[in-house]
Amino acid sequence: MENITIGKLKENFSTSILEINTNNGDAFVLVEKKQIIPILTFLKNDSELDYNMLIDLSAVDYLKHPVKKAERFEIVYQLYSLTKNHKIRIKVSIEMKDLCVDSATSLWKSANWAEREVFDMFGIKFNGHPNLRRILTHHEFIGHPLRKDYPIKKRQILSVNDTLMDEMEQKLREKGLKQ
């Protein structure tokens, strides 16, 4: 049963698709890092696929996974179409040397905070993200906790809370209220 999404993806982006697989009933496609934004825009704007909702964006660290993967990190986009009621999982693998990928905030606003959390937890940078900062851990935190090599009990104390003024000024400048 070749679902329509994979069929269309093969037609248009056959070169940049690295792996297609189904597991527990869900299909997922591993794509090239360079082609991720064109693929996502195609999935969103194509009338037949119409993936208008990015349900979830997360990352996985395959350092200690028994099955050896080519690169260490993988970013996972769960897409869902409200009108067509079908979903697809797009994966992008990120190698340790070049920890960055293009940001999807231009396509969906839900990617904004999800990417900030992936940056906070794994240290993967998103080019073109409007406000890439830590979101869950405090601003004096060093290291990225959800990596497999970060010890679970390594605690870091926060001395002074973040005043958020720099973030606020950036927003004010965008609105033209502050020089």
Partner: protein, 119 residues
């Protein structure tokens, strides 16, 4: 005549003495221990408070304050009138009615101008 005055004096006495006694007791009896962090302004425990008290306030608050004062004083004038409403007879009723009409005109102006909406 005198029992009215004595009644008023008792009220004034109570109104002045009791709060001052309470304030004096709490000031005198309560323990006091100041630390540098306790005297900082309370901003939900966050380090930096922005702006100072000498900054300019938005004009809208001034409007609200003035409107409140006008209509509050109006009700203050009504109290003594309402208390001995019977003895004062018809003329005072018409006088007070005139007073209310004037203020009502001001109120209609405010509603038309939509001052309260703008806040």
């Amino acid at each position: 005549m005198t029992e009215n005055v004595t009644a008023a004096l008792i009220v004034v006495f109570l109104a002045v003495i009791i709060p001052s006694v309470i304030l004096f007791l709490s000031h005198f009896l309560g323990g006091r221990k100041y630390s540098e962090r306790k005297l900082e302004t309370y901003e939900v425990g966050l380090p930096k408070v922005y702006g100072s008290t000498s900054e300019r306030f938005s004009i809208k608050f001034y409007l609200i304050a003035i409107l409140f004062i006008i209509f509050d004083i109006e009700t203050v004038f009504m109290y003594p009138w309402a208390v001995n409403f019977r003895e004062l007879g018809i003329w005072s009723f018409l006088e007070m009615f005139l007073f209310i009409i004037i203020l009502l005109a001001g109120f209609v102006y405010i509603l038309r101008k939509g001052v309260l909406k703008e806040i």
